[in-house]
Structures are given as C-alpha cells and as structure tokens.
C-alpha cells in the first residue's frame, strides 16, 4: 500500500491540520466564521444545492466551505468582501466535486422530479420559477447558467460575481452578457415550441 504522496506532504507541514501564520488568531477566525455562517449559511447552502442537486452533499460541502474559510481567514483582506469571498470558496468546492465526479448538473428549480428522493426544488424554493424559464435555463451552458443564477437569485453584483467565479471583472461581464443572450434565445425557442405545440393540438 503506497500512501498518498500529497497527503504525506500535508501532514509534514500541517501537523495540526491547520495553517497558522503570523498574526493569525484562531479565536478571532472562529468568531468571524461563526458570524459568517449565521449570515450566509442559507444562501451558500442554496447555491451548492442548486449546483449539486443533492441536499446531503450540499450540506457536506457547505461545511467544507466554512471550514476552508476558517483556514483561509488570514487571506481575507477586506471583511466587507467576505460574502463574495465565501461564494468563491463555495464555487471552487462545488466545481471540484463536480469535476471529480464527472457530473455536470444544475438543479432545475421546478419541473419534473427525477427521482423519488426529496428533490432539491422542493427544498430550495418556496416560490417557483416558471416551467418555461426552467426549461430555458437548462438549455444554456452550465457556466453561463451559474453566472446568471448567481446574479439573479443570489443578487450578486458584477464584481461579486467575478470574485465568486474566480474570473476577472471583464470576463464576468462577458460571461453574463452571453448568458443573457443565450437565455433570450432559449426563451424564444420555448415560446416557439409552445406555439407549435398549441397549433398542433
């Protein structure tokens, strides 16, 4: 049995499992993350639930995101940017999970349930988007959809979105611009489909 080499590396440098750099106060970090959790746990969980469509996994990864935030506390330069910073951590946690599992899925917030398990849409949304919008969202590329839903449902500004997705402001703008055009076209196709269906009925 050969050990994970990078795990060995980590153990050598992080004997306590934590990185403690100069000026890094564990108690301060703990209080800060606890406060962050109180403020943002629901939206981070909602974001991960939308990304992963699995309530248990989303809860696991929400936990991971806040633990990572605790460890990276000394890298947060401006507390006022903590929300976007937190989303960035959650975004990476989600992407990492999706990539490793080779699953690319994004929750349709309403619509047909795909299994008998409690569906994300039942857990996520009291208020529901239209089926037409759901189907249109499913037509557009995942990154565009992610950007659009972060902007629309999580009320992110362009700068927050850029930070959350780990891209530049210009790239975020381009991504969101493309997302809006894709959604416009997808909605138009939905409308045409409904018209044709209606005409054929």
């Amino acid at each position: 049995m050969v050990a994970d080499p990078f795990q060995l590396e980590q153990q050598r440098h992080l004997p306590a499992g934590l990185s403690v750099s100069a000026g890094w106060d564990r108690d301060e970090a703990y209080r800060f993350v606890e406060e962050l959790f109180g403020k943002h746990q629901h939206e981070i969980y909602a974001y991960l639930l939308r990304m992963l469509r699995d309530p248990e996994l989303a809860a696991d990864l929400t936990q991971d995101a806040f633990v990572k935030a605790y460890r990276a506390y000394d890298h947060l330069e401006k507390p006022e940017n903590a929300r976007a910073w937190l989303y960035q951590i959650a975004h990476r946690v989600a992407l990492d999970n999706l990539r490793r599992n080779r699953i690319v899925r994004f929750v349709p917030l309403v619509g047909e349930a795909r299994s008998t398990a409690p569906s994300a849409e039942h857990l996520v949304m009291d208020a529901r988007l239209s089926g037409e919008l759901q189907r249109a969202l499913e037509r557009i590329p995942v990154r565009q959809r992610t950007a659009l839903l972060l902007a629309e449902l999580h009320d992110m500004t362009g700068l927050e979105l850029a930070a959350a997705m780990g891209v530049s402001h210009v790239a975020a703008r381009a991504l969101l611009t493309r997302a809006r055009e894709s959604l416009r076209q997808a909605l138009a196709e939905e409308t045409r489909g409904l018209d044709e269906h209606g005409a054929g009925a």
């Binding site: 499992g17 599992n101 500004t157 894709s182």
Partner: protein, 588 residues
C-alpha cells in the same frame, strides 16, 4: 444572433448595442456606454425590442430572488467540530458513504501491468497484481521529475512534481518504489475546464494555457521558489521580437484587455466596488464564444503578412475608454501574458533556448482568425508577430518560428525570422504544422489538404498523410505515420534525436488518441516503425519526452486519468503509473 436591421446604422453597431443591452441589467456599463446605447436604441426599433427582452428577464426571477432553503439544524455544530478538531477534510457526517473519487486524488501507485502489452516485445500480463508485493527490482534512472498540473481541493490548479528516479522493468508485474513526492506552492485560480501546461527548458517556469469555454488566458508560473525568483514584470523592458504591436488580448486589432485573473494559493478578495473604464472590452465579447458561436469571423486572407519590426503597440488608439494592457503581477510571481482570447491549436512551445514562448490565439469575439503570438521571457505580455489573422504557430526552428497558413487554398509553412520579421518558405509543397527534430535534419508534418473547422476559425487535416521526412525535403520515400481521418497530432523527439514519440487522434478534441514511441536511426533519421518501443498506447493530448522519460495522461477505469511514465536508461525500459485524479494534464 438574429441580425437586427435599421437603415443607416452599420451592422457592428447593432451587435454592440445588443451586447451592451445584455450587460446593462447587471450594472456593468459605464456612463459613456449607457449614453451610446441609449442613442442607438432611440434610432433602432429592433435593438430596442431586444433590449426590452433583456430587461424583462430580470422580472422572471423575481419570485425566487433571495429565497433560500433551511440548512440542516446541526450544520454549524458539525462545522465547528471539524474546525475545533483541526482535521482537514473530515466530513461525511451526514450518513453518506465516502465518494469513490477520494482515494484517487494525488495518490501514487506502482502499476506497471496496466497496458504492459503495448510495449514492444512484452507479452500482455495479468493485470491483477499492482504493487502488493515487491516481486521485481526497480532500476535507477538519471535524476528527473514528472510534472503534472491538476486541480486541487480548493479548485486551484496545482503544479505537482514527482521525482521519478527509478522504475520497474517493463517485464515485471510490479515492484516496490520509494516515491519522494513534492508539490509546489505555485497555484493558479482558474475556472477553465481544461488546460495545457508547457515547461521551460530550464524547468524554472511553466506556462499554463487555458482551454474550454469562454475567454481564455495564458499564465506564466514560477516553478522554483516564487519568493526568490519572481518573473520580471518591468513594463518598460524591450522585446527583441518584432511585434505587430497587438497585445494578446481579446481584440488584437482593438483596445480591450482585462485585469488579470487571480492567482494565489487562497481565495482572493474582490476588487473595489467602483466602475472601471477597463470594462470597455466587454462590449466586444459577443456570443461568439465556444459555447455560443454565432458571429461570423473576418475572412482570413490568403496573403500572409507579418508586422514590420518598427510597428509600435497601438493600445491607446481608440476613442473608447481603454484599459491598460499592462499585466499586473500576480501573487507568487505568476503573471498573465495573454487574456480574453481563444487559444488555437496545441502547438504552444518554448523556443529551444527558453528565451521565448509562442502560441496561436484569436479574439474571443470571433472578429478575426488566429495569429501567432510570442512572449519574450521577462516581458509583461505576449505580442502578435503575424497580422493576417490566418496563421498558426507550428513549432520552432532554432530561434525562428515555423508558421503555417493556407495560401491559395493550399497549406504552406514559412520560416519567420523573429529578429527581422522576414519570411521564407520552408518547403515548396504542401506542409502543415511541421515539427522539426533537434538537429534540424528531419521533420514530421501533414502532407495534404486541410479543411476549415466547424467554427470557421481554424483548420483540420483533410486528405493526406502525416509523414516523417528529411527536413525540409528529401528524395527518399517519406515514412507515413498516419493517414486521412486524423484530427490532431503531436510529434517530438528526445533531446538526442534517437527516439521519436508520435501522438495521433482521430477523435474529437478532448478525447484520447494513441501514442507511439519509435527508435530513430541516427544516420538516416528514419524511424523503426515496425518495432515501436511503445505501440499505440491510449493517451490524451499533450505528452512529454524529456530526460529519458516519456510521460502521458491516459484514460483509466471509471473515467479517471492516470499519468503513465515510460523511462529508459540505455536500452532498458521501465514504467510506472501515477494516479493523479481527474483532469490531470502532463506538463510537456
């Protein structure tokens, strides 16, 4: 896009108006853009209608905006327990079984039996024994490393170094190795779905080229201690490369660039909340990206041209708010030398002396075809050395660049002298993307026709064959390495020119092809195709042949990837396998 029409307004104005209208609901526009857009909408009914559709999109989300579900009641208690216990990665507290991927992340195993039958002269082995017992003795190699780039748990790309100083003989089922792994502290934050990584000849820098959807960038990372050896970023430094003046940003012919993506070992904080004039590049970010191609590109010309050395950068010649093209140094000494572009082809490479790095890119908005860019080590950015929007970097010939382009419907290659900007034909006949051996006496290239790629911005081999011939031409019958049906390839020799590795693919981009290794007769330059050292092993694009090691990324069971190493010392070959997780790319 459906083309809106209004009398008296040029088509690009409509396109720009729609892009600005799409960006408006999210507050991206600067006052000058808003004013321009309002003026355009006042005169264009079609654009007004589309702008209204964008605006109305927001209302569709109103019912769900800011509505979040309840989290599990004990979520904080469990999170706090992990923090207080100081146990990284201690999770799965909600009754879920561990995910199957976990053991694969970064794990190294010795497993020479997998695919051993691909090695010449080695019969297929029973592949059930993988490193359980030491049943063979590894043999030592000259010191060297295998470098891979993979995505870490925090989502950042991590450069990982694996010393490979010994391997198991190819005929053995398994043997016990003593790996001494190391991981660099250099990490790159990127959301790119794929990437290439190319190491400099001195192995002190790695260039990461983003792939996949959306705008891409090219980053330079330091392999050695970044604190001690930062990449020079003096914006006033001069480049010996005669550049066209177009920086490697999304609009080689136009103004915009973008701030660099973050590169750090930890999440960065967002920038200050203030509108920035650097956003003027975004209106040209049309829906013509790889995930929504629609804009017709400018027609590449058949007449090649390179910029004269005297042409100076034109980054300020625009009436729009213009971002600086200077690239801010990134943490760890990493820097972004190209941004907001679409990388074309997979032939990016350092020059043999390591002084320059060349690649092919086009504007992300599809407004032009590809050009060759060269980054001189130490410069803050890469510069275009062709301006015909129809050129591909094929490889290096000493200090000169080999540039392929379609001329009069025929694939041709020229030798571009970077010191003077002069071009000379490399060959009279059809020659596409030649790779030349280390002593410049043999080459591998596509001899045949090429066809436009589906997006109209590149080319793919059509009818013909991939040949190994004396460089630049000879009397002997060429050796044929592959024929029609090829979609991509890579050919490289070892430093002495004694071994030739050839990767070919007939599949779509991102799918595995096959990799072979041939001995080369030093007198004739001909490869022993009948007795390959490695015979058509499944491999993803991007292999490395360096310091007696051939390294490639291969598909593994369950959809994961492994890193395969075939190493040799004299005539003895050995092999090992590294399980390195999903998306692992070999640094070539």
């Amino acid at each position: 896009m459906n083309g809106p029409r209004a009398v008296g307004l040029p088509g690009r104005d409509h396109e720009r108006a729609r892009e600005l209208a799409a960006a408006r609901p999210d507050g991206f526009l600067v006052p000058a853009e808003i004013a321009w857009l309002d003026g355009h909408l006042a005169a264009c009914e079609d654009c007004r209608s589309i702008a209204a559709q964008y605006a109305s999109q927001r209302s569709l989300f109103d019912v769900a905006r800011g509505v979040y579900p309840e989290t599990p009641r004990d979520l904080w208690a469990r999170t706090a327990a992990v923090i207080e216990a100081g146990l990284p990665g201690n999770r799965r507290r909600f009754g879920r079984p561990s995910l199957a991927y976990a053991p694969l992340a970064g794990a190294l195993v010795v497993a020479i039996a997998v695919g051993a039958g691909l090695l010449n002269g080695v019969p297929p082995e029973d592949s059930t024994s993988k490193g359980e017992e030491p049943d063979a003795t590894p043999f030592a190699l000259t010191a060297g490393q295998v470098q891979v780039v993979s995505r870490g748990e925090d989502g950042a790309l991590q450069l990982r170094l694996q010393a490979v100083d010994e391997v198991c003989p190819v005929a053995a089922d398994a043997c016990r190795l003593n790996p001494t792994p190391r991981r660099t502290t250099t990490e790159l934050q990127t959301t790119a779905s794929a990437w290439d990584a190319i190491i400099s000849p001195d192995e002190e820098q790695v260039v990461v080229v983003e792939r996949g959807d959306g705008p891409q960038g090219v980053y330079v990372l330091n392999v050695t201690d970044p604190q001690l050896a930062p990449v020079p970023t003096d914006a006033t430094s001069t480049s010996p490369v005669p550049a066209s003046g177009a920086p490697a940003s999304g609009n080689p012919g136009g103004p915009p660039s973008q701030p660099p993506a973050t590169a750090s070992t930890e999440p960065s904080t967002p920038p200050d909340e203030s509108p920035t004039t650097t956003a003027s590049g975004a209106p040209t970010e049309s829906a013509a990206s790889s995930d929504a191609p629609s804009t017709e590109p400018a027609s590449p010309t058949d007449t090649a041209s390179t910029a004269p050395p005297s042409v100076s950068p034109s980054t300020g010649a625009t009436p729009e708010p213009t971002p600086s093209v200077e690239v801010t140094p990134l943490p760890d000494g990493a820097m972004e030398i190209a941004s907001n572009v679409a990388i074309v082809g997979n032939t990016a490479a350092y020059s043999p002396d390591g002084a320059r790095f060349a690649f092919t890119a086009r504007p992300i908005d599809g407004s032009a075809g590809p050009d060759v860019f060269v980054w001189t080590v130490g410069d803050p950015r890469a510069l275009a050395v062709t301006t015909d929007h129809a050129s591909l970097f094929a490889g290096w010939l000493g200090a000169d660049a080999l540039v392929s382009r379609v001329t009069g419907g025929n694939p041709r290659t020229v030798i571009l002298a970077l010191k003077t900007g002069d071009e000379t034909p490399a060959h009279d006949g059809a020659m596409w993307r030649p790779a030349v051996g280390p002593d410049a006496t043999t080459g591998v290239w596509w001899e045949g026709t090429v066809a436009r790629t589906a997006n109209g911005l590149g080319w793919t081999p059509a009818e013909g064959r991939l040949v190994l011939e004396p460089w630049p031409a000879g009397d002997d019958e060429p050796q044929v390495l592959a024929t029609t049906g090829l979609t991509d390839w890579q050919a490289e020799w070892d430093a002495k020119g004694r071994l030739l590795a050839v990767w070919t693919s007939t599949a779509a981009p991102g799918k595995p092809g096959v990799l072979s290794l041939y001995a080369v007769d030093p007198k004739t330059g001909r490869a022993d195709l009948a007795n390959p050292k490695l015979d058509r092993a499944p491999a993803y694009a991007g292999f490395s042949i360096r310091k007696g090691r051939l390294t490639w990324s291969a598909p593994a069971d369950g959809g994961d990837r492994t890193v395969q190493v075939l190493a040799w010392k004299g005539d003895t070959f050995g092999r090992l396998e590294i399980l390195a997780g999903d998306g692992t790319t070999v640094v070539r």
